[in-house]
């Protein structure tokens, strides 16, 4: 029987102890002594959130399928256990082997959202690993960061030995080879880091130096170790039909997680360059998985896990080239086996309404549109290729098809937004309600139509055409939300319209981390030392502490968030090469100002630069 790291006394006194005891079905549980290389993969949040992450499952598979390595899992202990572990000085452990994190050779930490940064420090601290990469010794694991936020790793640069830029499938085998050889030779840590620095896509922050101008902007960013590459190009899988690691036998958590279902990734990237959207740029170009792979994998995942639901995941699933064929296969299979299909990110058109009609069966849940902006003008500015006619027509078809609940998602505070654009949000919602009353005859109406609109606040992200744009201040956000609220009251169908907005002061911090530089790291460390953790969980965010820290360290939102950055400013993330060029982004920023729409990759290539990877949509129809 596995020996647990925590005593029964502790486990029985905390919430959901099974978060920490492992042993889930389909987990590998490799014996510790059966392999040379011990890797621990950490998602720095609570178990239920972490287990939903597909990237983690892919890496877990990639490592464990090798006979000479094992990959275990680490999560942030929830606050109840966090407190106990600090009080009693219990070191953090991985859930399968229950071994101390510090005993592993490699600690992989995924950064999926900026607000997890203090949790990362919590993980290192509880593990007894020095927070600063430069303070680590031969006894410490090599700490590698990956995930979406690494596209601007600089705020976290001090805390990581290495960042892996891009998709894990291409280089981790090489990383494992290097680490195994290093372990066998008893090689020194610095030599290993130098070897890793030469692997494509890998970035070793301590081999670089950042210099700043007097006004605080970045003056230069250069390698100070000959092994550091000047530019780091992101890694991607150009050919998605290769034999790639995939969680065909996914771990089935005992407790209900965020994702109680199998995840089938149909493609990577997105053809639609919405100008606010980082994912749309950093994952370029779009690459489909093959239909055959998807069919086979769907069945294998469902049979091996027993999940009652499968989720077709991607940034924009409707754009998958063989979507209809995939559904022709999945719909009957899932009906026969009583399995639900979840398809987030569907564009609303006749085809997807038909699909939803089939997968939602009798109960028509609400329909979701994400126009992101209320006015056509602003939708053109942000390049949301969605016209008002398309939205209203989609709604009309949905109402005819029996739906009477619509959810609308908007963003407030996008660059170049005017008062008119803000007021257009309620007007659009009202127009949709009018469509309902026009299309559905009185005798067929089942209750009132319900149009729910929510707004979130825009955060400027690196590697988007808006990376130069200023962000709104908290007061401006609030004013805008108030204006939306007031305008809703003036609408004809106001009784059918509901409006939500989240007053989050997270937004400003998110902006700071997203476009911050190495100096922001000091604030993260100091905030952590003053007790900040689980910032992503609104109710635990200690915003006042953060403000104090920024003030004490002389860092300001003015500099990082509120100014429009000159077009030739050197950004902290410019040394990363995502394929998409800075020139293209600048062109898009200019077109945004002119209100010009740019066609999507399938309509017309705009020469963004991502063609350099030699695959995907850029080469479609050319062979």
């Amino acid at each position: 029987m596995r020996k647990l790291a925590l005593s029964d006394e502790i486990l029985l006194s905390i919430d959901k102890p099974s978060r920490y005891t492992g042993g889930e079905y389909n987990s590998y549980n490799k014996p510790w002594d059966s392999v040379t290389l011990h890797a621990a993969f950490c998602f720095p949040d609570v178990y239920e959130i972490a287990t939903a992450n597909l990237g983690m499952q892919i890496i877990y598979e990639q490592f464990n399928r090798r006979p000479d390595a094992l990959c275990d899992r680490v999560y942030s202990p929830w606050l109840d256990l966090d407190k106990i572990m600090r009080e009693r000085k219990i070191p953090l452990f991985a859930v399968e082997s229950q071994q101390k994190v510090r005993d592993f050779d490699l600690l992989l930490i995924t950064l999926q959202y900026e607000m997890c940064y203090t949790n990362v420090l919590g993980i290192l601290d509880l593990s007894g690993i020095p927070l600063h990469a430069s303070d680590r010794t031969e006894e410490d694991p090599i700490v590698i960061g990956g995930g979406t936020c690494t596209y601007n790793p600089e705020p976290m640069a001090d805390f990581f030995d290495v960042f892996y830029m891009g998709e894990s499938e291409t280089q981790y085998d090489r990383v494992m080879d290097i680490l195994i050889a290093a372990k066998n030779n008893g090689q020194r840590r610095i030599t290993t880091l130098e070897q890793l620095a030469e692997v494509p896509g890998l970035y070793v922050p301590q081999f670089y130096e950042a210099r700043y101008h007097e006004d605080g902007t970045l003056a230069s960013f250069t390698p100070v170790n000959p092994h550091g590459k000047t530019r780091i190009r992101k890694e991607i899988v150009a050919d998605m039909s290769a034999d790639l690691p995939y969680p065909k036998h996914p771990i089935v958590p005992f407790t209900r997680g965020m994702m109680d279902r199998a995840t089938l990734e149909v493609m990577r990237g997105c053809i639609r360059g919405c100008r606010f959207c980082q994912a749309g740029m950093i994952y370029r170009p779009v690459r489909n998985r093959s239909l055959e792979f998807l069919k086979k994998t769907a069945v294998e995942m469902l049979e091996s896990s027993g999940y009652e639901e499968i989720n077709l995941s991607s940034l924009s699933t409707s754009d998958y080239s063989e979507f209809a064929e995939l559904l022709d296969f999945l719909l009957p299979y899932c009906e026969e086996h009583k399995i639900n299909i979840g398809i987030p990110s569907l564009r609303i058109d006749a085809f997807s309404l038909d699909v939803m009609d089939k997968i939602q069966d009798i109960k028509k849940t609400s329909l979701t549109f994400a126009p992101e902006a209320g006015s056509q003008r602003l939708r053109d500015v942000i390049n949301k290729g969605l016209t008002e006619e398309e939205i209203l027509e989609g709604a009309r078809q949905a109402f005819t098809g029996g739906w009477n609940k619509v959810k609308l998602y908007f963003m407030l505070g996008q660059p170049l937004e005017t008062e008119e654009d803000v007021k257009a949000i309620p007007v659009l919602a009202d127009k949709i309600a009018r469509v309902y009353y026009e299309t559905v005859p009185k005798e067929q109406r089942q209750g009132k139509v319900s149009i729910q609109s929510s707004t979130s606040f825009f955060v400027t992200k690196p590697f988007t055409p808006f990376q130069w744009a200023p962000m709104c201040r908290e007061e401006e956000f609030t004013e805008k939300a108030m204006l939306v609220k007031e305008t809703f009251r003036e609408q004809l169908n106001r009784k059918s319209l509901v409006y939500h907005y989240h007053a989050e002061n997270q937004t400003e911090l998110e902006g700071l981390f997203a476009r911050g530089d190495r100096r922001v790291g000091r604030a993260i460390e100091e905030a952590y030392r003053r007790g900040c953790i689980y910032d992503a969980w609104g109710e635990y965010l200690k915003y006042d502490v953060w403000l104090e820290v920024l003030n004490d360290l002389g860092l300001s939102f003015e500099f990082y968030n509120f100014r429009e950055r000159p077009i030739d400013e050197l950004f902290p993330w410019d040394f990363i090469d995502i394929g998409v060029t800075k020139e293209f982004l600048a062109r898009e920023w200019q077109r945004a100002k002119e209100g010009k729409v740019t066609p999507n990759c399938r309509e017309q290539c705009s020469g963004c630069g991502a063609r350099c990877f030699g695959g995907g949509v850029c080469f479609e129809g050319q062979n």
Partner: protein, 233 residues
Amino acid sequence: MKVRIKFSKQGSLRFIGHLDVMRYFQKLNRRAALDLTYTKGFSPHQEMSFAAPLGLGLTSDGEYADIEFESLPGSSEELVKRMNEVSVPELQVIDAVLLPDQAKNAMSILAGADYELSFREGYEPEDPEGFFKALEDYLSRETIPVTKNTKTGTQDVDLKVQIREWRRLPGNRLFFKVDTGSRSNLKPEFIMECFYESLGREYDPLTFEVNRTEMYGEIDRKLVPLYAYGRRF
């Protein structure tokens, strides 16, 4: 067709709550590709019920679930094997029997259960002989009236009536056969708590590791193991 399965829940699975065990079985049954009866209606689910939830922290070798099948997968032995192939080592199916058509479900007939208690590491009594002598004295009383906290208030009960059997086992362990179910329910930890109180000592709920070993229904005032209500197939 209703099949009653008996299963164990050991090791780190003692930290999995009852709801999660139910969810676990829904998926296990799918993995084993069993031909089960599903409820009609919008979101069909398997027709399955459990005899009694096991408290968090307890282990068991005698859990029961009743599952409704459309068709049986070969013999009892084959079913057990098929389920265990797709289960974790700490939860294993021990037995499967086919119930008569009119059989009531395990939960409603549940009347008794067996438990084994062993001292958790670090909680052993200094003087085991003295401990067991005192326990013997306590449990040999004519009546053992105690007051129990219930959801609605308090209730006076006689432990003597609810304990059907007890004995000391080798290795300073204890065996209890007690009332369990909706009519009369007694948890072995509660016996120990009352005993410690009678000695004027405080009871630490972590003192014992508790393993449930069997569950029973009752026919003619005799306890009958739940598996004996059906037959192997």
